[in-house]
């Protein structure tokens, strides 16, 4: 089981790397076939990645989302899934140029973590925890996409109108809307994550909110994206400012995910 999972994981990681390179070469040479190949590779890898996660889940007898390695690999999986959906839905192949490096970085981070399958301590054996983590993964994936869209927005702004990229990157207005939609998805799921996390903490410890650093940082992230929503309702704050906000928001997401465990103490640090 572990063997198969490891092999699949390696293939997937190499695949994501190859897709990233293809997107970059596409950006440099503008050859249509390249992004199609990259998209195809990512779609194929996503299937293998799903298989790897299912195998791990069966082997462990639970959802494979409870330690740093498992969460990281799921994060990369969700980011890939959400980015492929957005590329397809909004006919926006160049989104891959922004998203693929993030996917690769996260799966690379996963590769550095211990892959040992450990049994769960009693507090972690809860269905609420399963909801909590799976919604977090989707939320992080969507925020990753909003980050990539934000980057594309800032790049697109630098390009001249009427350039080749007009066909492959939507207009600034549309990019802004796509960014808003991805933030909406992320925010909705982040709210779910916080809510299910609170319900779980209430059942496990009798305290649904205790200002643990990870909780606090998820609240900070949530407020930042709320500020993003409110700012957008004001004149002059759509577009560039919103794109920059999406980029900063995702940096906070990453800090909540990696930084808090590394730098700050709290109950979540065993995860």
């Amino acid at each position: 089981m572990i063997q198969t999972e490891n092999v699949l994981f390696t293939i997937v990681m190499v695949g994501y790397f190859a897709a990233m390179i293809l997107y970059f070469v596409f950006a440099a040479t503008r050859k249509e076939t390249l992004w199609k190949a990259a998209f195809g590779i990512q779609a194929g890898c996503l299937i293998l990645h799903t298989a790897a996660l299912v195998i791990r889940g069966i082997g462990a007898g639970r959802l494979p989302m409870t330690n740093q390695y498992e969460f990281a690999t799921c994060f990369a999986w969700a980011l890939c899934l959400v980015s492929l959906i957005f590329i397809h839905k909004y006919r926006f192949p160049a989104l891959g140029i922004g998203a693929a490096p993030v996917i690769f970085l996260i799966i690379g981070y996963a590769a550095m973590q211990s892959r040992e399958v450990r049994e769960l301590m009693p507090a972690l054996r809860s269905n609420w925890l399963a909801f909590h983590v799976s919604t977090a993964i989707i939320s992080y994936g969507a925020f990753g996409v909003s980050f990539a869209v934000g980057i594309m927005f800032l790049l697109r702004e630098k390009l001249k109108e009427g350039s080749y990229w007009d066909q492959h990157i939507p207009s600034l207005q549309k990019l802004d809307q796509i960014g808003y939609r991805s933030v909406s998805l992320g925010l909705l799921f982040l709210t779910f994550t916080i809510l299910t996390g609170a319900i779980w903490a209430e059942r496990a410890w009798g305290s649904y909110w205790s200002w643990d650093p990870k909780e606090t940082w998820s609240l900070v992230t949530w407020i930042i994206y709320m500020v993003y929503l409110h700012l957008r309702l004001r004149r002059g704050w759509k577009g560039k400012a919103a794109a920059m906000f999406a980029v900063i928001g995702f940096i906070c997401v990453i800090f909540t995910y990696i930084g808090v465990n590394t730098f700050l103490p709290g109950v979540h640090s065993y995860a």
Partner: protein
């Protein structure tokens, strides 16, 4: 709204900064960690208990006032907008306009609008109109109410909620603080997996209301609390306990169950204290000091400390069967077992906070995913002109309308791309 944005930003920054400071320590702890200067600043700013400090409460209070004010002020306008969406004459500035449509019904259909009502407008021209997802207009408002409920529920819970803990071993009955309830621990099991890791802690308890003598049993384990007499009981944690016997001149003097960290005073010499310092089920002497190899009772050892009139006389580890002798007294540790720590909580406002969370969630879904849209078609000579208005997502809606119109002009009913939802 600028004030609200400012407040939310300040709150985010305050939370972020406070998370960098370990909360709830004593002044001396901060001095040893950050130095005297920084420690003084931390204490002065209440950063040691930031989330309960006056400034934090004030910020949250302002946020609530702002939310209440904003919700009240916006309510009439919102009701008006909601009503108006049903009225073709009151449709606002269109987001997009498409001309030269022959069969406007198909555009309504492609955009999944409800079937339109037909009428003659003020200028006597034929007109079709429908609106959808009107409920989405309420999203932000509902979300704000949800946040208010959440903050209110949390704050009231913090002020009025009570938490108590008891610990003990099977057979013991203990009072739950001054709640008038007593908890009897009937059984406590730690189930281990094959690899020695803990699978579950389960306590079998009876809760008795002392006034009435009524009692109820409960079975609690981690993640499975139980509610009795208005209190919720949690299996919180565990530790080791042991029987401790004191003999005087070889005769039984006293016998008690001590949990790790507890002490007993010798019955006829209360200045002599035996403190149960630590317990190791599978004792080894490691480089870093005493440790345990596993959770199995393979080689139990008791670490004790003896004090007389506040002076420490000695500290040492006893193996199974070994005894401690102090003058005429002999102290024996045996029958090691697990004790359970049970916490009990009573917070009448948790349901309010939960309801607030759910309402916030509902509001968010409405605000972000139920996009109100209205569509009007007006006959212009032979062909129709279609006006579309979407409260959110203008460009994508305009694109969907254009695709739908293009499809109609080409005679195909289905449009491609984003649906105007």
């Amino acid at each position: 709204m600028p004030f609200a944005i400012g407040l939310l930003s300040v709150l985010a920054i305050a939370c972020a900064l406070s998370s960098l400071v370990t909360q709830g320590q004593a002044y001396n702890w901060y001095v040893s960690k950050y130095g005297e200067r920084t420690a003084a600043v931390i204490i002065a700013l209440h950063a040691d208990d930031a989330y309960h400090s006056g400034w934090f409460l004030a910020l949250t209070g302002f946020l609530c006032l702002n939310l209440i004010g904003c919700s009240l002020v916006r309510l009439p306008g919102l009701i008006r907008r909601f009503r108006r969406m049903g009225d073709p004459d009151a449709m606002g500035e269109p987001t997009a306009t498409e001309e030269g449509i022959n069969k406007p019904e198909s555009v309504f259909e492609t955009l999944r609008m409800p079937s339109p009502t037909a009428r003659k407008n003020g200028e006597g021209r034929e007109e079709l109109y429908s609106a959808k997802n009107r409920i989405g207009l309420w999203g932000a408002w509902i979300c704000h109410i949800g946040i208010l409920m959440l903050i209110l529920g949390f704050a009231l819970g913090q002020w009025t909620g009570k938490q108590e803990t008891v610990y003990g071993v099977p057979g013991q009955t203990k009072l739950l603080g001054d709640t008038g309830l007593a908890v009897t621990i009937r059984d406590f099991t730690v189930s281990l997996r094959e690899d020695d890791t803990v699978e579950q802690y389960t306590a079998d308890i009876t809760v008795t209301e002392q006034d009435t003598g009524r009692s109820e049993d409960a079975w609690i384990s981690v993640n499975n609390p139980a509610k009795r007499f208005g209190w919720t009981f949690y299996q919180n944690s565990t530790g080791y306990a042991s029987r401790v016997r004191v003999l005087k001149d070889g005769k039984d003097l006293q016998e008690e169950i001590l949990c790790v960290g507890e002490s007993l005073a010798v019955a006829d010499k209360p200045d002599l204290i035996i403190h149960f310092q630590a317990f190791y089920p599978d004792y080894v002497m490691a480089d870093s000091g005493p440790a345990t190899r596993s959770g199995q009772m393979n080689h139990p050892a008791w670490l004790y400390l003896v004090a007389y009139q506040g002076q420490v006389l000695g500290m040492n580890a006893l193996m199974e069967g070994e005894e401690l002798t102090i003058d005429e007294y002999t102290v024996l540790f045996d029958q090691p077992r697990n004790y359970t720590l049970i916490s009990a909580k009573r917070d009448l406002f948790t349901p309010l906070a939960l309801a607030g969370g759910l309402v916030t969630m509902l509001g968010l879904m409405l605000a972000l995913y139920v996009r109100p849209a209205s569509l009007k078609a007006v006959k212009d000579g032979e062909a129709w002109t279609v006006y579309g208005r979407c409260e959110k997502g203008g460009v994508l809606f305009a694109e969907a309308l254009r695709d739908a119109a293009d499809a109609e002009r080409k005679g195909k009913p289905e449009g491609k791309g984003e649906q105007g939802t």
